[in-house]
């Protein structure tokens, strides 16, 4: 499992690196783009994902001490918090769509070129720099999208694990599948622990 996770480090690592270089190039566009994201929603989601990870860790413990009821309970809780995370993510994506912040033909830079007309307390961007906010949002959707995909796959596996746990497969000393899945789930958590500050908290211009 760890070897698989190492390939995952490289998979996400490439996108993190792309983010790093573009952020360096188009810092102003990234700041404005980042400030469009909601800290309450992103912060809540961070807490929810940590909670989900905590319950997954507890599931490993329940499997180790062979408590079938507890194991099922913790797996269900892990799944529920996973779904809440995806629900909040959906709300955020939907807002981006409504505000024309999804890169592509639908994208609208006018808010970033003339922020004061839209009631935003941002520095106005030159039109070419304002276009670069598309790069920020592209990376935002790529990174959070792939992260969400990992969570959906994880939730799929969770249902399979719950089904087998109910049969009693993991409470007679055979912990490996639960443990390995927990490693995967925690890894996906860790990716988010980096995504949250990098995407949401670039520059909240304190004092302004």
């Amino acid at each position: 499992m760890w070897l698989f996770l190492l390939t995952e480090i490289m998979f996400f690592g490439g996108m993190f690196l792309a983010y790093l270089l573009y952020r360096n190039w188009y810092y102003d566009a990234f700041v404005v783009g980042s400030n469009q994201l909601s800290i309450p929603l992103g912060g809540t989601n961070t807490a929810i994902l940590i909670t989900s990870g905590f319950f997954m860790a507890m599931a490993v413990w329940a499997s180790e001490v062979r408590k079938k009821g507890l194991l099922l309970l913790f797996l269900v809780l892990t799944t529920v918090f996973g779904f809440i995370f995806l629900g909040i993510k959906y709300v955020e994506y939907h807002e981006k769509w409504e505000k024309h912040h999804v890169p592509g033909f639908h994208f609208d830079v006018s808010e970033f070129v003339n922020p004061h007309a839209y009631g935003l307390k941002e520095k106005p961007l030159a039109p070419d720099m304002a276009q670069k906010t598309q790069i920020f949002f592209s990376l935002y959707f790529a990174l959070t999208g792939v992260h969400a995909l990992h969570m959906m796959i994880g939730i799929g596996v969770l249902f399979w694990l719950m089904w087998r746990a109910r049969r009693g497969d993991f409470t007679d000393g055979y912990v490996a599948p639960i443990e390995n899945f927990a490693l995967y789930w925690h890894f996906v958590d860790i990716v988010w622990l980096f995504l949250f500050p990098l995407l949401y908290l670039i520059n909240r211009h304190p004092g302004a």
Binding site: W2, L3, L5, L6, I9, M10, G13, L17, L20, L21, N24, I39, G43, T46, A47, I50, T51, G53, F54, M56, A57, M58, V60, W61, E64, V65, D169, D172, G173, Y174, V175, A176, E179, A182, L183, H186, F187, D189, I190, L193, F194, F196, P197, L198, Y200, L201, I202, N203, R204, H205, P206, G207
Partner: protein
């Protein structure tokens, strides 16, 4: 799954020599720590630290990641082989990042 039932020689899971059961109290402490530092990173984002803002944000994120890896992912209680595997993964990523960045900063951007 019954073949794993009784395996004192630990043939089926050699990587789990001396299986260590981490108690819920440890998980609870880790959980609290992670929530605390999530709050901290949000607060820190609103304080103007100049160039240190991203450093602090990444520092906190890395600290949280290490806590997750050590306790939630049990690396603290694993064999040296697993520890080295995990370490090498992050180290390899660091090497690739360093190589890319040294290429990036040593180019004469806009001078040709």
């Amino acid at each position: 799954m019954t073949q794993h039932h009784h395996d004192p020689a630990n043939v089926t899971n050699p990587e789990h020599a001396e299986h260590h059961v981490v108690p819920p109290s440890t998980y609870l402490m880790v959980f609290g720590t992670l929530l605390l530092f999530t709050g901290l990173t949000v607060v820190a984002a609103y304080i103007d630290l100049g160039i240190l803002n991203p450093v602090v944000a990444l520092g906190i994120a890395s600290f949280k990641a290490v806590v997750v890896i050590l306790f939630f992912m049990h690396v603290k209680y694993q064999s040296g082989l697993i520890k080295m595997t995990v370490g090498s993964g992050f180290f390899a990523f660091l090497i690739l990042t360093t190589l890319t960045l040294s290429d990036y900063i040593s180019r004469a951007w806009g001078l040709w």
